[in-house]
């Protein structure tokens, strides 16, 4: 964090310091509360939910269910929003979710080229790199190289890579392949193997 500097320009006309941005957020919050538009409790609750409660473990449970229940898998691929609603998962930015399935011949990766559209209800908040311009542009230009060099995730040349651009209308996420040697595992154990990156398409499922 940089220290506030004295500048002749008003704070709106030059790059703000970290401290100034933080002050601005605080100011905005106090104005909204004063005007009765929202309450501190509501803001606290939301911050808490998104920081701690909604997260990739919800998506992982859906993946594990799809691995063990072929009919659910079919419904998930047909309409992810409805299938997730069946298990009580849904909410803001989850209205139009589409699940893309990895196979022996196709690997899927998600991005948002315009901003940071992301299926919050199943994956939580996006990691910072998902929001960086570098990822947003390079994953489109050279997905195989980016996955290998930036994520250490080597996709065999024989496998096609598809990059999906999420928008506010349609948010993608990835149904990874169930790893070999997991026939004896139950749904809860399988869910433990599913990482956030596996559902973004930038990392593998853990091995048991």
């Amino acid at each position: 964090m940089s220290a506030p500097t004295s500048s002749p320009l008003p704070i709106t006309l030059r790059q703000r310091t970290e401290a100034e941005v933080a002050a601005r957020v605080k100011a905005l919050e106090s104005i909204m509360i004063e005007k009765g538009i929202m309450t501190t409790e509501a803001i606290d609750r939301l911050a808490e939910i998104y920081e701690n409660e909604v997260g990739p473990q919800l998506g992982a449970s859906v993946v594990a269910k799809a691995w063990t229940d072929p009919e659910f898998r079919t419904r998930l691929l047909a309409n992810a929003t409805e299938a997730c609603a069946e298990v009580g998962i849904g909410g803001l930015q989850g209205e139009d979710m589409v699940v893309v399935e990895n196979t022996d011949t196709v690997h899927n990766v998600i991005a948002c080229t315009l901003c940071s559209c992301y299926p919050w209800p199943v994956l939580g908040l996006p990691p910072n790199w998902y929001k960086y311009p570098a990822y947003r542009s390079s994953i489109v230009r050279a997905p195989r190289r980016v996955l290998r060099d930036d994520f250490g995730f080597d996709i065999p040349e024989s496998v096609e890579i598809r990059v999906w651009d999420s928008s506010s209308e349609m948010r993608y996420w990835v149904l990874p392949q169930r790893p070999a040697g997991t026939d004896s595992l139950g749904e809860a154990e399988l869910a433990e193997l599913v990482t956030r990156d596996a559902m973004i398409g930038t990392g593998p499922v853990a091995t048991p």
Partner: protein, 131 residues
């Protein structure tokens, strides 16, 4: 919620308390989470359609990318765009008027973080005695 979900959440909670940056953390600074929650709260309060906020965010990031391409390198701060989009939509809904945010920001900056908290408090401020 499964027991596993609970366990994972507890671990994630610990992760979020680690200092510094990690690609596991969604927020680098507390104000980012606050700005995030403010936008969602304003949406829930019916201040705007989420798509309006979305468009404002796309616009803010787009301007940054244009400026970046012309060599005016401002550091990339995602949540600053988020905040800009929130200001735009709240001004649009009438929740934010004129320069009241600038004024309030100056007040916040001028007020020391620990205003009124300069004295050493050497005793416990509450005690629940042993029984």
């Amino acid at each position: 919620m499964t027991e596993l979900g609970d366990a994972r959440r507890r671990v994630e909670q610990l992760l979020t308390e680690l200092p510094g940056e990690s690609d596991q953390l969604s927020f680098d600074h507390p104000w980012e989470l606050r700005a995030f929650a403010l936008a969602v709260a304003a949406y829930h309060a019916g201040q705007y359609d989420w798509s309006e906020f979305q468009l404002a965010l796309i616009g803010s990031i787009g301007s940054w990318e244009t400026a970046d391409a012309t060599g005016e390198h401002e550091p990339w701060r995602y949540y600053e765009h988020w905040l800009g989009a929130l200001e735009t939509t709240l001004s649009g809904s009438g929740a934010l008027a004129g320069d009241e945010l600038d004024e309030r920001t100056r007040t916040v900056i001028a007020t020391p973080r620990d205003a009124g908290h300069h004295d050493a408090h050497r005793e416990p401020i509450a005690v629940d005695p042993a029984r």
